[in-house]
């Protein structure tokens, strides 16, 4: 049985309007880091002219993931940034709004007839990564000698407020189904499941209309509980299978809806994805909606474009209200791992002493005991034995706690200690 709880989803507030395209950034900021915060080797220097979609850096890890420029323009500088965890470089490009591309490549009518190697090469070269928030290189999932039996398309979107995948599925249904069909044919995958929450009938109708042409693709509605959209929970729920490190071990690949759309662009147009749909929502802004923005756009530009803040004192949250943290400035920019920005008005929650109710231990999806970790946080041996490093940072322990203790923070600190 999957552990979790139903959380008020707040999704309706951002799906009222159509997707707004925001393209007003004079400067674009591309951080030179990829999956697991790996640093990259930069191919450009200040003063160089870069084309839209040009590779400006390559990751230094085994994945060798390329980083592309999302606009055309002059590199105005390479700055060094510090966040709490590490130092990294950021390429700043002055946007000339000309959208110049180095070479024009036509689209391919049928994307089903690539060989496995060709498809993997395209997915790799075009920098397709998991856009659910982890940024794991997608080509690596397909580049396996193990037999892949099942492809799961994750359209669950567990995080409250976020509707970007839902919106993308609604807008690009045929493209997404075409890509899934191609992936199944190229990689000889027998079964595909699109996992979705049934919270909006309209999107279902759209999907059901198209899916008739793809009998091998199955839609499965999942329970509206958090965190069912997490890869492990989803596989367990749909197939009752657990795995150790990667789902490929069990012949399963999980791709997010936005990732599938990136694969579509890579296979159809041989182009990297340089923008994405993100959800900008919450009671701290005037017009919550889904927006299409280029990677590297400042959050400030996005919020200003949709009507600004509705309060002077807010939480500006990236990566979702359950998993994310609030940041101190809106000068930050959109990277591939950002699925949404949630702005919430200031709320006070008074923390009480733990009453030992055990709700945190009984809801944890990976069966940790946050209360025991908290009570023994001074003793490294004990917290190590309690598997605190297995925490998936879903935030359910803090959510459920009647004493309003931020157990997630405590467990994450312990996780760092035992690493």
């Amino acid at each position: 049985m999957i552990r979790g709880t139903k959380i008020e989803n707040h999704k309706n507030i951002s799906i009222k309007d159509n997707i707004k395209k925001i393209d007003n950034s004079d400067y674009i900021y591309i951080p030179l880091k990829t999956y697991n915060n790996t640093n990259c080797t930069c191919n450009v220097k200040a003063g160089d002219y870069v084309y839209k979609g040009q590779v400006i850096a390559l990751s230094n890890d085994k994945y060798k993931m390329p980083i592309h420029s999302s606009v055309s323009g002059k590199v105005s500088g390479i700055i060094e940034e510090n966040n709490s965890e590490e130092k990294f470089k950021v390429v700043v490009i002055e946007n000339d709004y000309l959208e110049k591309e180095k070479k024009k490549i036509g689209s391919k009518n049928i994307i089903n007839n690539y060989t496995i190697d060709e498809a993997i090469k395209l997915i790799h070269e075009n920098g397709v990564v998991g856009l659910g928030g982890q940024c794991f290189p997608t080509y690596y999932k397909y580049n396996t000698e193990l037999k892949i039996n099942t492809l799961i398309i994750n359209a669950v979107e567990s995080e409250p407020f976020l509707t970007c995948d839902f919106t993308l599925l609604k807008e690009k249904t045929s493209e997404i189904l075409e890509t899934i069909d191609a992936l199944m044919e190229i990689f000889k995958i027998e079964k595909c499941i699109i996992a979705i929450k049934n919270y909006n009938k309209q999107s279902m109708n759209n999907l059901i209309e198209y899916i008739g042409s793809y009998p091998q693709i199955e839609i499965k509605y999942v329970k509206d509980i958090y965190p069912i959209g997490f890869e492990r929970s989803l596989i367990k729920h749909l197939l009752n299978i657990s795995y150790n490190k990667y789902s490929m071990e069990k012949g399963i690949i999980v791709n997010n809806i936005s990732t599938v759309y990136s694969i579509y662009k890579a296979l159809k147009f041989k182009k990297p994805t340089l923008d994405r749909i993100i959800t900008v929502s919450g009671d701290g802004i005037n017009n919550p909606q889904n927006v299409k923005v280029k990677y590297g756009t400042k959050i400030k530009n996005i919020i200003e474009s949709i009507g600004g803040y509705s309060s002077d004192k807010v939480f500006l949250i990236i990566h979702g209200v359950m998993r994310g943290n609030s940041i101190s400035t809106d000068e930050n920019y959109i990277t591939k791992d950002v699925t949404g920005i949630t702005v919430l008005k200031e709320t006070q929650s008074i923390q009480d002493e733990c009453i030992n109710c055990g709700k945190c231990a009984n809801i944890c999806p990976v069966r940790l005991s946050p209360v025991l970790i908290m009570n023994n946080q001074k003793y490294n041996i004990i917290i190590n034995k309690l598997n605190s490093n297995k925490c998936v940072e879903c935030g359910l322990c803090s959510y459920i706690c009647p004493s309003k203790i931020n157990l997630k923070e405590i467990v994450m600190n312990c996780k760092k200690e035992v690493k």
């Binding site: 709880t5 959380i7 008020e8 409250p160 803040y309 002077d312 004192k313 807010v314 939480f315 500006l316 949250i317 979702g320 209200v321 359950m322 998993r323 994310g324 943290n325 609030s326 940041i327 101190s328 400035t329 809106d330 949630t342 919430l344 200031e346 709320t347 929650s349 009480d352 009453i355 030992n356 109710c357 055990g358 709700k359 945190c360 231990a361 009984n362 069966r367 005991s369 209360v371 025991l372 009570n375 023994n376 004990i382 034995k385 309690l386 598997n387 297995k390 935030g395 803090s398 959510y399 459920i400 706690c401 009647p402 004493s403 309003k404 931020n406 997630k408 923070e409 994450m412």
Partner: protein
């Protein structure tokens, strides 16, 4: 613009300690009304003394050590403690002793969080006034309070204000004991009050589902075979051991996962 920096999550469940306390208090109302109906003024007087002593003890402690005045949570928890004590103390308990015992129990609880103050009060009362069932309340039409207690348990279960596994298992054991004719219906009612409100008290019981089940089975078995007067002592010992029971099961589960 002022951006507040904080670690997530930013959504919280609407359950809180005040709600848990209120729900526990509400669940006590039916059985309390029943007690008021079947008892005399002496019982109401004893209730008031117990309540006053527990509230005074709490207030004094908070005022002296934490410089806090009485608040809603403190008052509600004192009310709950005193009601449960009143439901369980022997009829011949001395009021003055009860006052000082309540005071002492609250102070001890402030230093040893995992010891249930209700248990301490009951242990003192039963040590000085060894009670047989005749000294306790004899229930008229005894199936009514039993029914009320089960309703209270279901209410607490729905409101998620109870460690339901512990209470549920212990109630089943108590009913088994009654059907095995190990005690009569009056005893069953007293045991059921203990099952719902004392054995499963949040602070002093295990957290993990597996340790709750083991704890409940052990206490359940002991409660039907041991003399009622000594049951509180056994629960107290488990209160102290519970932290280790929880840790042991957590280690076992974590090891199993690693394997």
């Amino acid at each position: 613009m002022n951006f507040i920096v904080r670690k997530g999550p930013f959504l919280k469940n609407n359950n809180n300690i005040s709600k848990i306390l209120i729900n526990t208090l509400i669940s006590l109302i039916p059985i309390l009304i029943y007690y008021f109906i079947i008892n005399d003024m002496n019982y109401i007087f004893k209730f008031c003394i117990t309540l006053t002593s527990i509230v005074i003890a709490n207030m004094s402690y908070e005022f002296i050590y934490n410089k806090k005045m009485i608040n809603f949570k403190l008052l509600t928890s004192s009310l709950i403690t005193s009601i449960i004590v009143c439901l369980l103390i022997p009829k011949n308990a001395n009021l003055i002793l009860l006052f000082f015992t309540s005071f002492g129990a609250i102070i001890i609880n402030k230093f040893f969080k995992n010891i249930n103050p209700i248990l301490l009060i009951l242990i003192f009362c039963y040590m000085f006034f060894i009670s047989d069932i005749d000294n306790n309340i004899v229930f008229i039409n005894a199936y009514i309070p039993m029914f009320l207690l089960i309703i209270s348990y279901i209410y607490l279960l729905i409101k998620r204000a109870i460690k339901f596994r512990i209470s549920g298992i212990c109630i089943i054991f108590s009913i088994i004991g009654y059907f095995l004719k190990l005690y009569d219906i009056n005893m069953l009612i007293l045991l059921s009050i203990i099952d719902v409100y004392v054995i499963s008290e949040l602070l002093s019981t295990p957290n993990l589902a597996i340790s709750q089940i083991i704890y409940a089975i052990v206490i359940g078995i002991i409660s039907i075979i041991i003399d009622y007067n000594y049951l509180f002592m056994v629960i107290l010992v488990f209160n102290i051991l519970n932290i280790y029971i929880d840790l042991s099961f957590a280690f076992i589960l974590a090891n199993k996962k690693k394997c």
